[in-house]
């Protein structure tokens, strides 16, 4: 009976919402962006915008490259030469490709020089290494990112390939957007929407869901949270690949500067999703995959430099920092 009950349960998940201002000394935005290492998808939405500025466009096009190396023996990552050439310079990130964190052995290299090995029981015993059990239950293909074009020549014997992140740009017309107040994270009845409602709405927009269904609609009852306004156009951008935190930080700073000149938009959003199969979420917090491997964060940047930050994780995750 207990097993049946457990199987019927929906795994827990957490959404942490906080608000602050970019000008505050103690604002954690930079630290949280920089310690979320393995990012798969970055997207931003700018209401009342039809064309991207040159600065933003350049940043979007320069989020890569990243490198893909096949059949790399792990011992190559702990040679003195590799450590001196790449790891000691900082900003070297790596993650095994096509390994599921809940099924396969997975390896990740963090920019602080730590190599994280998430191993199944047999492999762990074979290595004879000292480790600790996962909190929640080779010859490998790896994807790398490093601030170093020497990557290509260093791994030339392993068939290294350079890849560029994929960029998708689009505009949405007559988009219903929730009304928000930067000081009201939980919303205000009749006056402003809450942070979780905003996050849901953002998901609906990027999934191309209908936002204006009637409550008695047979197919879907989802609609934009109220109160809302309709904007004539909104700019959407999505970048997918292996994206380093430094590039995301630059994007965040540029989006903050969006409001240096008066703009119609009251806010813009920047969302980042981590790799479902990364062994860590923020810093060295263990990340796992139960029914899903989500670990994502979303900034809402207001025109007065206030911001909301939402961090979401799934069941096999520590609480976000």
């Amino acid at each position: 009976m207990a097993t049946l009950r457990r199987l019927r349960e929906v795994p827990r998940h957490l959404l942490v919402c906080e608000k602050s201002n970019f000008g505050h000394d103690k604002s954690r935005h930079r630290h949280l962006v920089e310690t979320h290492y393995h990012n798969y998808r970055v997207s931003f939405l700018i209401p009342e915008c039809g064309i991207l500025s040159k600065e933003l466009k350049n940043l979007v096009m320069e989020t890569g490259p990243y490198y893909f190396v096949k059949n790399l023996p792990l011992h190559e990552l702990i040679t003195h030469e590799f450590i001196n050439t790449f790891v000691k310079k900082g900003s070297c990130y790596a993650l095994t490709y096509h390994t599921n964190i809940d099924e396969d052995n997975t390896v990740a290299l963090l920019p602080n020089g730590k190599l994280i090995l998430s191993l199944d029981k047999d492999t762990y015993e074979e290595t004879g290494l000292q480790g600790r059990p996962s909190q929640y239950s080779g010859r490998k293909i790896m994807k790398f990112s490093a601030e170093e074009s020497r990557m290509m020549s260093y791994f030339s014997s392993y068939g290294i390939q350079e890849r560029q992140p994929r960029v998708a740009l689009s505009t949405a017309s007559e988009l219903q957007c929730p009304v928000l107040r930067s000081g009201e994270l939980g919303g205000a009845p009749g006056a402003a929407c809450s942070a979780p409602e905003l996050l849901d709405w953002l998901g609906a927009v990027f999934s191309n869901a209908q936002l204006n269904n009637e409550p008695n609609n047979f197919v879907s009852t989802y609609c934009c949270p109220q109160p809302s306004t309709v904007v004539a156009k909104a700019y959407l951008c999505t970048i997918t690949g292996f994206i380093v935190p430094e590039k995301i930080r630059l994007l965040l700073e540029q989006l903050c500067r969006y409001f240096d000149e008066p703009k119609l938009a009251p806010w813009v959003t920047l969302s980042v999703q981590g790799f479902a199969d990364s062994p860590v979420s923020w810093r060295e917090n263990e990340h796992g995959f139960r029914k899903g491997g989500e670990h994502l964060y979303n900034f809402v940047i207001f025109n007065n430099q206030d911001y909301w930050l939402q961090m979401a994780v799934g069941a096999n995750d520590d609480c976000p920092p």
Partner: protein
Amino acid sequence: TSRFRRAKQEPNVNIPGVSRAQGVASAGELRALAESCKERDSGRRQVDAALPLDILTYEEKTLSAILRICSSGLVKLWSSLTLLGSYKGKKCAFRVIQVSPFLLALSGNSRELVLD
């Protein structure tokens, strides 16, 4: 700075439907199909089997959809769709690709990144 924490209760299920025949022609058909699954598998009357279900998106080209259901209905919906073998007399199969309480997480799937 202030923050609050909330454990959300509404998982969204990303479900592609693969049909070798005509395929599900519209979101409305998919909705009706999902309802009939639940009725059939719950073994109860129509009224008891009802759970609020939304088809948030349906893409005919890829035969994939995003469904939304309350957390208490997740297991029932997932198992019903998994066990569905035919629709209107034609063989079909459903495969659940992603499940998440956060709709934003369903707009991208890192397991679908193809490098080789």
